[in-house]
Amino acid sequence: MTQLLLGNDAIALGMVQSGCRVMTAYPGTPSSEILAGVVKFKKKLGREIYTEWSASEKVAFEVALAASWSGLRAATAMKQVGLNVAADPLFSAAYTGVVGGFVIVPCDDPGPMSSQTEQDSRLMALTAKVPVFDPSTPAEALAMTQAAFELSERHCLPVILRPTTRVCHAVQSVDVPTAPAAAPNGHNAGFKKDPQRWAATPVFRLKLHNELNAKLADIEAEFEASPLNYSVNQPSAISHQPLGIIASGVVFTTAQEALAELGAEAPILKIGTPFPLPRKRAMEFIAQFERVLVLEEPDACIELQIPDRTRVNGRLDGTVPNAGELSPEIVMSVLAEALDRAGLPVPPPPDDAALSAIVQSLKIAPRRPRLCPGCSHRSAMFTMKRTFGPNAIYPGDIGCYSLGTNLRAIDTFVDMGAAVTMATGFYQAGRITGDKRPIVALIGDSTFIHSGIVPLANAVHTGARFVLLVLDNHTTAMTGTQPTPANDYTAEGDIATKISIPDIVRACGVKFVAVADPYDQEPFKALLEEAQAFTRAPEGGLAVIIADRPCVLYDDSPIEANPIPVVVTEDCDGCRYCVEAFECPALVLRADKSRVDIDYRICVECGQCIDACYKGFIVPQMSVVSTQ
């Protein structure tokens, strides 16, 4: 049956059809739809699968790993930087091996479009010594998910399936094979004790490392003959030709299309298993050509493993740009140059700039992402800025509130949980340099549970003093409102035990803990001042304020219960303060810059902008009606 599938849904369907029994994930673009897809397809196909939105990627990895050690097929998904968080168990699990097929899906983000790096999870696989599959399309991702479970089980080794954003978020008509009536169940025999493996001390780890190396040699031999690696445009007679191409992932499809447009028939070796690279096959392919161009994303993994790169060009020698997504425009220009260098006739590449110049001359301002109308983070950060001004240090973290950079309310973000640790470091550095500026760190509820708790315990223990603002909007908002351990329901909507963020903060030894609604801007300001005073008091210390207000996308019932429609009075002089300092998308500066209007199509009637006009020109609608 042909189905329209999102790449992430294709991976999810592959997991369900392959008899995966435990699936865990921590949300992160572009991976977030995989677990939701598993929940959807397990219900549709009537399969029993335990799913979990875990507290972090490391948690997700280890929960799934234990299931695999119990003989069940298991999988875990995350964004590429999430695999950094789960790197510790990944490296260890490569040594110990697995029992039930174990598939890890870190989704890479060339560009990067929604990430702090564009790191290559295939290189992570290479370093950790686990095999990796690299799908080019949703259809291939579905097939490879099945193959990954089988390979993992055959060699008792974790296997990585590495899609990129353009596979995860591509939608393709896919011929879906009928699901087997009874899904394969792995070994399904429960956890069997084997301390020399599952609890191996360093002495046994050396033995396991040698075992791992042997497994990889077997897998490379298997990949030499794998149908996941194949040639296209291959001439029937072996001959010496000017140019060949090795490609993997989405770039393989982009290169095929570009070659067709150029009317060139350069042979392509498509690699579906970048690590361990089937080196014999690659070298046999390379031997046929004067030059070989390697196209891969986001970094050089295949190219790096080619034993003799004398005739090879790619990202490593700069022939292909060594950063950024390989867009169709870039692939076209790289291919045209390579064909030309190889002495092949190149028709002038089709003009893709006919309109670019004139559109550029219009200088259309980029439309940057902004916090939603009614977002509680905006209120919290606006009040924070009003309280502490531009000079305080604002360490931020990963989530929607990183858009607070627009409001100049975020000075740093590094990775999950770094708001707390960076604030600790800024405090200690400030003691040395004599910098007495206030430090106010911001972290979201999901991020706090993911990676903020341990840093908080550390900060309290070492005597660091700063204000920590936990922006608790009751959900993981940026990635699509997935639940956290502070919610009372699971990934499947079942009842779950809710843990309390204030209780965790108190248990870390924080003496100043307050919960407040950032919509009440004046009391919130007073609380921020009190917290700051506590950080400076002789008997004081670290102060935590939990800004408690649900995300409008997740739960707008508090606004529905108390809508405050607003108007901008005729006195508005277009000073732009509200547009810049508050930056609600529903506050729109008129084209002639004379005044600000409310865009009532998107205004959610939160009334928060009333305080954003210090001149008092934004007022509740009711007050206008009553004065008329």
């Binding site: 572009p30 479009m113 309109l355 219009l362 992402p369 916090l371 996308l553 199509r601």
Partner: protein
């Protein structure tokens, strides 16, 4: 014959939803579809663009200068996405006054037709301001710009999908 379409708009306007309607409709006619969506940061009110290829290619992105048609739910986003349109292609845009006069001469030179529809007003008249996206899509189909008929769109299984309005409540 392969058809390459660009859908452009602002986060919240339903670009991804329109992509699904279009893709399902094409599949209903037995066509192969490959489309590329924006997710994540781009959904927080930023520019959103999706690429749709009907009838063959497995490459998810459309190269600049090769799209047969641009379907835009916002005038500024239409302008921004123009470089994708090929010579002889078409632009269907939600606008009360077409595109910026500065580009019109060049578009005419390249044989690119611009068709405007006051989709916001149409949607308001329908009492469903959130369906601006479907008005523009239907408008393009009626002009044979999608290789699909209006009936094909009506037959899309996605047609009854409820529009997600939370956080983007639209008031007439």
């Amino acid at each position: 014959m392969e058809l390459k379409l660009i859908l452009a708009g602002i986060g919240g306007q339903g670009v991804v939803f329109a992509t699904k309607v279009l893709s399902q409709a094409a599949m209903g006619r037995g066509e192969r579809v490959m489309a590329s969506e924006n997710h994540g940061m781009s959904q927080r009110g930023g520019s959103v663009m999706s690429h749709v290829k009907i009838g063959g290619s497995e490459a998810p992105l459309i190269r600049r200068g090769t799209a047969d048609a641009l379907v835009a739910f916002d005038r500024v986003e239409a302008m921004r996405s123009l470089p994708f349109v090929r010579a002889g292609g078409s632009v269907y845009v939600n606008s009360v006054n077409g595109l910026d006069p500065a580009v019109m001469a060049r578009l005419t030179e390249l044989g690119i037709g611009v068709f405007s529809v006051e989709a916001d007003a149409c949607a308001r008249e329908l009492g469903a301001p959130a369906v601006t996206n479907l008005v523009v899509l239907g408008f393009a189909a009626a002009h044979s710009g999608l290789g699909l008929s209006v009936d094909d769109l009506k037959n899309s299984p996605k047609r009854n999908h409820s529009y997600r309005q939370r956080g983007l409540r639209v008031r007439p």
